[in-house]
Symmetry: C2
C-alpha cells in the first residue's frame, strides 16, 4: 500500500512538514495549496526538496467552486484552473483535487455539470495533468460519492476521475459497498480520515475533529476493503483537519499518522480475510473467487499478530523519596520482597499484584518522545513511570510495536537478569512486555530480595487473590488521540466510549481501554487544561495566578475478594484513607436505600459504593504521594465499571486536601 | 432584580464558590447537588455560611427522572424525594428544581404525569417546600416549557410551579411571548444562560458551551422582557455549564457572571421600553396601558448610558528597549512629539494616529485581574499595554464601567495634567476613556515635547489623514468570553461572527468587536493553546519540547489614504517590511486577474491585497518587535474586512522569521 499524507494535517512550514513526512516513512504527500502560497520555497524548490527527501508529490489540493455555475463564472474558473495547472507543471505534479461546488453553484443540472467538467478535463489534458473530483459531504448539489462517480462516467475523459475521501462518505453514512463496482482506472485518489461520532454540522465536524485512522469510530477497514476489491492501487493518503494536530510537534504527529496507516493496512487485510467475496454472481470487475485469502492488485502488508495481553505484570512508581509509598503499600497489606540485586528498586507484592518502587532518577533521553509527558522530573516526588503487561510472546509483541514505530526503551540488564522488551507510550510511561505465566507468577521477581520467586501462596491474609484491576494514567492534551491509537495498535486494547467527570478544577475526560476478557483495564484521563499548564512534571507546582496547588494525579487500583476485610486490616495498620464526606453517604442512601448496617460499614471505613444492573462495586482510595495514589476495589457480580458516579467525590476531596496543605504552608 | 447563580457555574469547593458569589455581589445561589455531596460542610454548616455571607439559598437542584414512570419506580422516586426534602429543611431551603424525565420515562400520558406530579407536590407540601418543574430541551416526553406549564396548571397545587430556563427554551427556538400569559404565582424560578448558536446535539451544547448573558447569541433581553411582563418577581439566576468557566479562577468568574446580570438587567429594561405593550386587547394578566415606560412588579436597575466611542484616542506600547519601536514608527512616517514632561513615555503621531511608547515597567498590582494576561513581564521586550478611546463623557463612561465591575486603573498625574479614567480589560490591557474632540485632536498631547498640541496640520506627507484603523489583541483562552462581554457592556462594541485563521502553529480564532459607525474596530485573537503554554508574558520564550520560539503577537493597524505612497516612503526610509512570498502573488493573480502593473507594484512593495463585493483592501506589515508589530491599511470603496484571506500568509512568514532567528541563535 502506497502511503501518503496531506500537508494540512501537520504543524509548521512546508519544509518542516515535508521533512517530517519523509522521516516518518511516507511514500508521498498531498500539497495543500495554502502551505505552498505561504511558503518562501518556489515550486521548483519544492520539487527538488521532495526528490531529495524521496517523497512523491501525489496531489495538489484543493481546487474549489468550479462546477454548476453560469458561463461567465465558468470562464473565470477555467482561467484560474489554467494558472494552477501551470503551477503543477513547475511542481512536477500530475493530479489536482477538485471539490464539488459549495459556494458558487447555482445550477443543478448534471448534463451542464458534466459539460463543464469535460472542459476542465480537456484543459487538464492539454497540460498533461489529471483532475480527481470529490463529492464534499456538504457540497451544494454533489455531496454523494456515487453522484460524483456518475458524473465522471458521464464525462468519460481520461483526465477526469474520482477522489474518494472516507470522511465525506462515512460522515454521511453512505454505503461503501458500491465502491467495489467502480472502474479502478477512474479512481484517481483515496483519502482516509477517521472521526469520533459527533452530532454536529458536518462542516465543523470535518474541519476540527477528524483524527487519524484508529483514533475515531469510522469503519475504515471496511471502506478500505471495498477500495482494494475495486482494484485501486494508488496512494492511500491521510487528510485530517484536527485542531490539536495542527499545533503539535510536527515530527511526532507525522509518526502518529504513519502508525495509523500501518495499522489500517493490517486491519484492511484482516477485513478482507474475514469477508471473502461471494462465490458466484460476484462483484463487477472481479472474477468470482474461492472464499478466503485472495490476491488483489494492491498489496497489503501485515504486522506480527499478537493476542491481547492477559493482564498487568507490574506497575512501577518512581519516587525521589520512597518512604511514604512504602508506608502506604505496607498498610494496604503489601509485602516487601526486598531490593533488586543490581538496581535501586524495591518489589512489593500482594497476591499477583506487583508494585516496583524505583528510586533511580529517570535517565534523560530514555524516553524518545518525552514532550510534555509525565516523565519524572526532579520536582515530582512520585509518579507512575512504567507498566508491565503479560503477553504470550514478548519478542513478537515487541516486534509488532517496533513496526508500529513505538520508540524502544533500553533497560540495562546484568547477566542472568530477565530482559524486558520495552517502549515508550505517548505520555512517556514506559511499557514493558513480560512473559505471562499460567499461574500468574513472574520469574523476574527472583532478582529481588532473597532470590525466591514470590508466589501467591507466600502471602497471608485476604490478599492472596489480589491483582492489579486497573491503572489510571494522566494524559497531556496534545497526545490524547495518539495514546488511544498507540494502545489500540500496539497492545490490542479496545477504546470504550469516554466519560466526563466533574472536578473542582474542571471536567476530566476519562477514556477506558480494555482487553476483551478484562485482564487489562487502562484508563486514560485527560485533565482540565489549567492543570496542565504547570511546568514539566505537571505535579505539585503552584500557579502564580491563583496560588493554588494543582496536581495531575494518576493511580493504580488493586482488586481483592473482600474489600471490607482489606479496609479493616488497613485501618488497623493506620492507613491514611481518603476521607469521604458524610453528605455522600446520605445521598447514597437516598439513591440506593441500603441496608443500614451495610451503610454504617461503608461510612465507618470511608468506602465508596456503586450498583448497576450487572452488579456492585466497593472501593476506597489512599492519600496521595507526589502525584500517585492507590485504590482498592471489589467487584461483585458482573459489575464492569469503575464507580464513575463516585469520581467527583474523589476529585473534590483530593482538591480540598491539597488546598488545605497549601493554606497551611 | 434579585440576582442568583448556580454553584455549578464555578470552579472550586462549595465554600470557595459561596465566598466568591458573595464577594461578587449576588443576592442568592442555587445549590447544585454534587457540590453539596462532595463537600465536607454539613447542611447546617452550609446554612450558617450562607447566612454569614448574606446569601439566600434559592434553589436546590437538580432532581431528575421522576415523572412518567410505572408505579413501582414512582414509589422509589417519592422515597428519594422525601430524603431530599428532609435535607432541604436542614439547609433551610424552600424550592427544589425538578427536571422533566430523560432517562426512565416510559409512559407518555399527561394525566398520569399530572397525577404523579401531584403526589410529589403533596409530599413537598408536607415538608413545607416547593417544586419548580422544568422542561429540559431533551426531555423524553416533556421538552417544551408550555407543556410543563400546562402540567403545572393541571395539577393546580400551591407547591408545584414552573422553572423557566432560557437555554432550554431558546435552544429549541420556542417562541417566548406566551410567557407573558403565565400566572406569575406559578413561575417559581427563572434561570438564564446564553450560548453561541451551534449546530450540534442540544445536550452537548448545553453541557459544555453555555456562556453568561452577553457572551452568546440568544435573545435574552426579549426573554427577560416577557418574564417581567408576566409579573415574575423572583430571582434571575445564572445556570451556565461551561468547560472553561469550570476551570477558571472562581472569584474572577463570579465577577464576570455578575457583570452579565447587571448588563442583562439594563438590556431587559431597554427592551421593555422599546417594545411597549399593545394599547388594547393586550396580553392576559396585564391591563392595557399607554405605550412607553411603565412599571412592572420586578424593578430593573439601569446603568449610565453612553454613546459608542467615536474612535481610538491612542495606543500605548510598553517596551524595555524602545529603540526598535522608534525606528519602525519613524520609518512608517510617524513624527516624534518628544517625551512627556513628567513620565518616561514618548508620543509619536501621524495624522490622528497616536502611539505612546512607554519605557516604565508595569507597576505590579496595577492590573487587578492580571492572571495569565499579557501584562508586561520583564522578559517581554514590547507589548500593547493600553488603549485610549474617544468618548463623549469620560466621567459617565467610567461610572458605567465601574458599575459593571471593571477594575479601575489608577494613573498618577501631576497638576495640570489630563486625568484619564481607566480600567483593566480581562487580558489586563489598560483601557482609558478620553474626551473626544470634534477635530480629532487631543489636549493631553500638550504634555509632550514643546508643549504644543499636535495637530494634523503639523504633519507633512500622506499621513495627514492617518488614523488607527484597528487594534488586534491576543487573548488568553480562559478569559475570551469574559473579554467579549467586557467590551460589549463597558464600551458598547458589537461582537461579529468570529473567523478562524490557519497558522503554522494552529488555528487562530479571530473575533471582531465593532462600533456601528466603524470608528472603533477591535480584534480579539485567541491563539492556539500551545502558544499560550509559555510562562507569563507569553512572548519570546523557548519551549523545551521543540526548541521553537513561540510568540503571541498583537498589533496596531493604521489607515492611510494612499498606501502605495506610504509604502514607497517607508521603503525609502529603510523600513523592515514583512516579506511576502512570491507564491502569494501568483495565487493572487490566479484568483483576481489583476492588472500586471498593479500586481508588480504589490510585489515590489510587499503589499497584500483583498477584494470583495464592497471594495478593495491594501495592506502591509512591519517586522515584529517583542510581541508587537504594525500594519498599514488602505480601504477602497466600502470594504469592511481585514484581509482575512491574507492572514495565513502573515502567520506563516512571521513563524518562519522567528524560526530563522532561533536557528541562528
Amino acid at each position: 500500500m502506497r502511503t501518503g499524507i496531506a500537508t494540512v494535517c501537520l504543524a509548521g512550514t512546508l519544509r518542516e512538514k515535508m521533512q517530517a513526512c519523509a522521516a516518518a516513512g511516507f511514500d508521498g504527500i498531498e500539497i495543500f495549496e495554502q502551505d505552498l502560497v505561504t511558503s518562501p520555497l518556489s515550486p521548483e524548490d519544492v520539487r527538488k526538496l521532495a526528490a531529495d527527501l524521496g517523497l512523491t508529490l501525489d496531489l495538489y489540493q484543493p481546487f474549489r467552486d468550479f462546477d454548476s455555475v453560469p458561463e461567465d463564472l465558468l470562464a473565470a474558473n477555467l482561467r484560474r484552473a489554467d494558472a494552477k495547472f501551470r503551477l503543477m507543471s513547475r511542481l512536477g505534479m500530475d493530479t489536482m483535487l477538485l471539490c464539488s461546488n459549495v459556494g458558487t453553484a447555482t445550477i443543478d443540472d448534471d448534463e451542464l455539470r458534466a459539460a463543464q467538467l469535460s472542459r476542465l478535463a480537456h484543459l487538464a489534458g492539454d497540460h498533461g495533468v489529471k483532475v480527481a473530483y470529490e463529492a464534499l459531504a456538504w457540497g451544494k448539489y454533489v455531496n454523494d460519492y456515487e453522484h460524483s462517480h456518475r458524473l465522471v462516467d458521464l464525462v468519460d475523459h481520461p483526465n477526469l476521475g474520482t477522489c474518494l475521501d472516507s470522511f465525506h462518505i462515512l460522515s454521511r453514512d453512505w454505503d461503501t459497498a458500491p465502491i467495489e463496482a467502480f472502474n479502478p482506472e477512474k479512481i484517481f485518489f483515496v483519502q482516509v480520515a477517521d472521526a469520533p461520532k459527533l452530532s454536529m454540522d458536518v462542516l465543523s465536524w470535518s474541519r476540527h475533529y477528524r483524527v487519524f485512522p484508529g483514533e475515531g469510530q469510522f469503519e475504515l477497514a471496511q471502506f478500505m476493503g471495498h477500495v482494494v476489491r475495486a482494484g485501486y492501487t494508488g496512494p492511500v493518503s491521510l487528510e485530517v483537519f484536527n485542531d490539536v494536530f495542527r499545533q503539535s510537534d510536527v515530527e511526532r504527529t507525522a509518526v502518529d499518522a504513519m502508525r495509523s496507516l500501518i495499522w489500517l493496512e493490517e486491519q484492511s487485510a484482516a477485513w478482507l480475510e474475514a469477508n471473502p467475496v461471494p462465490a458466484a454472481g460476484g462483484v463487477a470487475g472481479q472474477a468470482a473467487g474461492t472464499p478466503g485469502r485472495r490476491r488483489y492488485p494492491m498489496e497489503l502488508a501485515t504486522l506480527p499478530r499478537v493476542a491481547e495481553p492477559a493482564g498487568f505484570n507490574f506497575a512501577e512508581v518512581r519516587a525521589t523519596d520512597t518512604a511514604a509509598l512504602e508506608t502506604l503499600l505496607g498498610q494496604l497489606g503489601f509485602t516487601s520482597n526486598g531490593r533488586h540485586r543490581t538496581k535501586n528498586v524495591q518489589l512489593w507484592t500482594m497476591g499477583h499484584a506487583r508494585v516496583i518502587i524505583n528510586e533511580e532518577p529517570a535517565a534523560s533521553g530514555t524516553v524518545a518522545t518525552a514532550g510534555a509527558g509525565t516523565a519524572a522530573a526532579p520536582a515530582v516526588s512520585a509518579s507512575i513511570s512504567a507498566l508491565g503487561f503479560d503477553v504470550d510472546s514478548p519478542v513478537i509483541a515487541a516486534a509488532r510495536a517496533q513496526q508500529l514505530k513505538a520508540p524502544a526503551v533500553p533497560r540495562k540488564s546484568q547477566a542472568n537478569e530477565e530482559i524486558f522488551q520495552g517502549f515508550a507510550a505517548p505520555d512517556s510511561t514506559e511499557i514493558f512486555l513480560c512473559q505471562g505465566n499460567p499461574g500468574g507468577t513472574a520469574a523476574w521477581t527472583r532478582e529481588f530480595g532473597d532470590g525466591l520467586e514470590a508466589t501467591a501462596a507466600d502471602l497471608a491474609g485476604g490478599g492472596a487473590g489480589a491483582v492489579i484491576d486497573h491503572v489510571n494514567l494522566a494524559q497531556p492534551w496534545q497526545h490524547f488521540d495518539e495514546a488511544v491509537l498507540f494502545y489500540t495498535s500496539a497492545l490490542a486494547l479496545e477504546p470504550q466510549p469516554y466519560a466526563e467527570v466533574a472536578s473542582p478544577t474542571g471536567l476530566v475526560r476519562s477514556q477506558v481501554m480494555l482487553t476483551q476478557d478484562r485482564g487489562v483495564r487502562l484508563v486514560l484521563n485527560l485533565a482540565p487544561l489549567l492543570q496542565q499548564e504547570a511546568p514539566a512534571g505537571m505535579s505539585g507546582t503552584t500557579t502564580a495566578a491563583t496560588g493554588q496547588r494543582r496536581t495531575y494525579q494518576e493511580h493504580v487500583a488493586f482488586a481483592v475478594d473482600d474489600l471490607v476485610a482489606t479496609a479493616r486490616a488497613a485501618r488497623d495498620r493506620g492507613l491514611d484513607f481518603l476521607q469521604i464526606p458524610a453528605n455522600y453517604y446520605e445521598d447514597l442512601d437516598a439513591r440506593f436505600a441500603l441496608d443500614p448496617e451495610f451503610l454504617a460499614t461503608l461510612r465507618e471505613l470511608n468506602l465508596l459504593y456503586d450498583r448497576d444492573a450487572d452488579g456492585e462495586f466497593l472501593h476506597f482510595y489512599t492519600a496521595t504521594v507526589g502525584s500517585v495514589f492507590f485504590e482498592m476495589v471489589e467487584r461483585r457480580g458482573s459489575y464492569d465499571g469503575y464507580g464513575a458516579p463516585n469520581a467527583p467525590v474523589r476529585h473534590a476531596v483530593q482538591y480540598d486536601h491539597e488546598h488545605e496543605l497549601t493554606r497551611r504552608s
